[in-house]
């Protein structure tokens, strides 16, 4: 879907992602980033046209936890608000559509997740098909490992290539003060072969928030808005055995619809929690060596579930804000083996004007 109204990401904030945040409740973890994006734009909650969040109760094991997190927004006088049980990237999509329809001119979007309270690998099995898959408890690393082996068998990658992906991402993260695992580290033992510790994203807690604004409002709030030129999300058939795990046609289709292939991008923030998934995404998106991939370090350096996809959009936008990118692609995923994929294309205005 491409935009018929100019909408931009004008502010982005994230927490310093950590392995555990026991001393903080979800709202206590989230509130500082909400305040930060508001302060950055000078907006108050009452100025925001639409608020949308992404999170999952299964992470903390608590029902309706998003209503508690909403305490951090300040919902009086009453606000227009929505929630997706999904990564915050999908909340951003909903907010973008809301602005495109003219229902709002600004939106506050946030995503958060505390993965530390529960066994994340097992918790994520509860999102699987409940008849044929969930009763077997195939954990998230196991499913990603099946995908990795499929890529090895197809000759699309090898273990050295995967290690290099891990090292490059975590090297990049040394410039990211928010990253949980900055700097290269040993690949370690197999968690589920062929994936080693180093091939897997860390488990941790964190939150992110962005503010979207339309047209002149965006120009007033940000020196160089990151204009959303297009955004789309697509899904694969849910049965893993039906799919070609070495490819991601949903990512390619979403990228096509978002206009990603109309002109080259200089940056791509990819939501690949496992090294092998970056191989799949680069192929699906036809990304060449001239594209800067995950300058933030990506999910291999910090993966707060339900915020990590939104962070990809935020990081891509932040690079445009500071002039490090002119046209960036941001990708978010959800579900096992890249089941659902969202692609956004962000642009800054030419800097020579």
């Amino acid at each position: 879907m491409t935009a018929h109204r100019d909408v931009a990401i004008v502010a982005f904030a994230q927490t310093r992602h950590r392995a555990r945040t026991e001393e903080l409740s979800e709202v206590e973890m989230l509130m500082p980033v909400l305040h930060e994006v508001l302060a950055r734009t000078g907006l108050k909650t009452s100025d925001i046209g639409f608020t949308c969040s992404g999170s999952s109760d299964y992470l903390a094991g608590r029902p309706f936890s998003f209503t508690m997190a909403l305490d951090g927004v300040g919902a009086w006088p009453p606000i227009a608000e929505s929630h997706v049980e999904q990564d915050g990237a999908w909340a951003l999509y909903e907010a973008w559509v809301k602005i495109l329809t003219g229902e709002a001119d600004t939106a506050l979007v946030y995503g958060y997740g505390k993965s530390s309270p529960g066994p994340l690998r097992d918790v994520l099995t509860r999102q699987l098909d409940p008849y044929y898959l969930a009763p077997l408890w195939p954990d998230s690393v196991a499913l990603a490992a099946l995908q990795a082996q499929a890529l090895l068998d197809a000759g699309d990658t090898d273990e050295r290539d995967l290690a290099a992906i891990a090292a490059r991402n975590r090297d990049n993260a040394t410039a990211n003060p928010f990253a949980q695992l900055p700097g290269a580290r040993p690949q370690g033992d197999y968690v589920v072969r062929p994936l080693r510790t180093g091939d897997c994203a860390p488990v941790g807690d964190g939150a992110a928030a962005v503010i979207l604004a339309a047209g002149d409002t965006a120009r007033a709030l940000c020196d160089r808005p990151a204009w959303i030129r297009g955004m789309d999300h697509r899904v694969e058939p849910h049965a893993l055995g039906v799919r070609d795990l070495t490819d991601s046609p949903s990512t390619r289709l979403a990228a096509t619809r978002a206009g990603a292939f109309d002109r080259p991008v200089d940056t791509a923030e990819l939501h690949a929690p496992f090294t092998a998934q970056e191989v799949v995404l680069r192929k699906a998106l036809s990304l060449g060596d001239d594209v800067r991939i995950n300058p933030s370090g990506g999910p291999l350096a910090a993966n707060p579930v339900m915020a990590a996809g939104l962070i990809r959009l935020g990081e891509a936008a932040a690079r445009i804000h500071r002039g490090a990118s002119d046209r960036a692609l941001a990708h978010a995923t959800s579900g096992p083996c890249l089941q659902q994929n969202l692609v956004a294309v962000l642009e800054g205005e030419p800097r020579d004007r």
């Binding site: 409740s25 951090g72 919902a75 008849y131 044929y132 898959l133 009763p135 195939p138 072969r193 049965a239």
Partner: protein
């Protein structure tokens, strides 16, 4: 805070799910050691079968029987099985295309080690000794050195005593940590005190505190002791006994504005006949035997509070 409060939190549920016609036939078939697939409009055989074509959304009902033998299409060696997984010794996860099928089924493959597994290897189903009509009726897959058999037979999907539903038990073990504000509240309760937190913006005192003022969206950091006495702002009479609840009905469940609090919390009222509880009644906490929380509230004997003193807290 160095000593964070934490406690085990178990979320456990037996999800009861009904099955559609294709899933019912497939799972009942497993009980009878028969593997069914479904044929799509373009002649592909999907195993496990689904009710709608994942590509065309066309309704699928044309069942066929496929072989209990197949070929690994991809695999992953699992050195440390996790709770609930099919085998408790190291095994391979495998996607297996059963002979006659065009798609792959996920299950555990029992093999002595990763060197004994490869893509393309031949396997067969090992049936569970006791079968109920569930995917776990396949105990696992095991190596098999026979040739592929591609015979696919039509099947009417009819079995005696068909399975129409499954119960999928799930248990997840969490460690709950309540955060800064609620930790302070819980610590104070252990000393038979009730603390709230004041919003620096609107001055409202929240009890129990959750760390943020939902009106202003800012952190509430100014700790305030409230109560112990309070006023009943509104109430209801409960006439139906909840399961496992050791309280005689009828009883009164009330909203109680503790003195100094900016909103009412809820609690049970006792020590007074249920039909004499009223708005404005002054009450105080009666602590539970273990002293961790108020068991209920009882009248203080003071005159009733004036309506104007609590009307904002209703």
């Amino acid at each position: 805070m160095s000593d964070v409060l934490k406690a085990p939190l178990v979320v456990e549920f037996p999800f009861t799910r009904s099955l559609g016609p294709v899933q019912s036939a497939f799972l009942t078939g497993l009980r009878e050691r028969t593997v069914l697939g479904v044929r799509t409009g373009d002649g592909r055989i999907l195993v496990p079968p689904v009710e709608y074509d994942p590509h065309t959304a066309e309704e699928l009902r044309d069942l066929v029987e496929v072989a209990p033998t197949g070929t690994v299409t991809t695999w992953a060696w699992n050195p440390a099985p996790r709770p609930g997984q099919p085998l408790d010794t190291p095994f391979a996860w495998a996607l297996v295309r059963l002979d006659g099928a065009d798609t792959a089924l996920l299950h555990a493959l029992d093999a002595p080690g990763p060197d004994a597994v490869r893509t393309g290897m031949r396997v067969r189903i090992r049936w569970a000794a006791e079968r109920t009509g569930a995917i776990t009726d396949i105990a696992c897959l095991e190596p098999y050195d026979g040739e592929a058999a591609h015979e696919v037979r039509p099947h009417d999907g009819v079995f005696g005593n068909p399975v129409t539903g499954i119960v999928a038990p799930a248990r997840l073990d969490y460690t709950y940590t309540p955060g800064r504000a609620q930790s302070a509240y819980l610590r104070a309760l252990a000393e038979r005190r009730t603390v709230g937190e004041r919003c620096p913006s609107c001055a409202k005192v929240y009890v129990p505190p959750r760390g943020a003022c939902p009106t202003c969206g800012v952190a509430t950091t100014d700790r305030v002791e409230v109560g112990p006495r309070g006023t009943v702002t509104t109430f209801c009479v409960v006439n139906i006994k909840a399961k496992n609840l050791d309280i005689e009905v009828p009883y009164v469940y009330a909203h109680i504005a503790l003195d100094g609090a900016g909103l009412a919390l809820h609690g049970r009222i006792a020590g007074i006949p249920y039909d004499q509880v009223r708005m404005g009644l002054r009450v105080e906490p009666v602590w539970s035997d273990d002293g961790r929380h108020p068991d209920h509230y009882q009248p203080t004997g003071e005159p009733d509070a004036d309506y104007d003193t609590y009307k904002e807290l209703l």
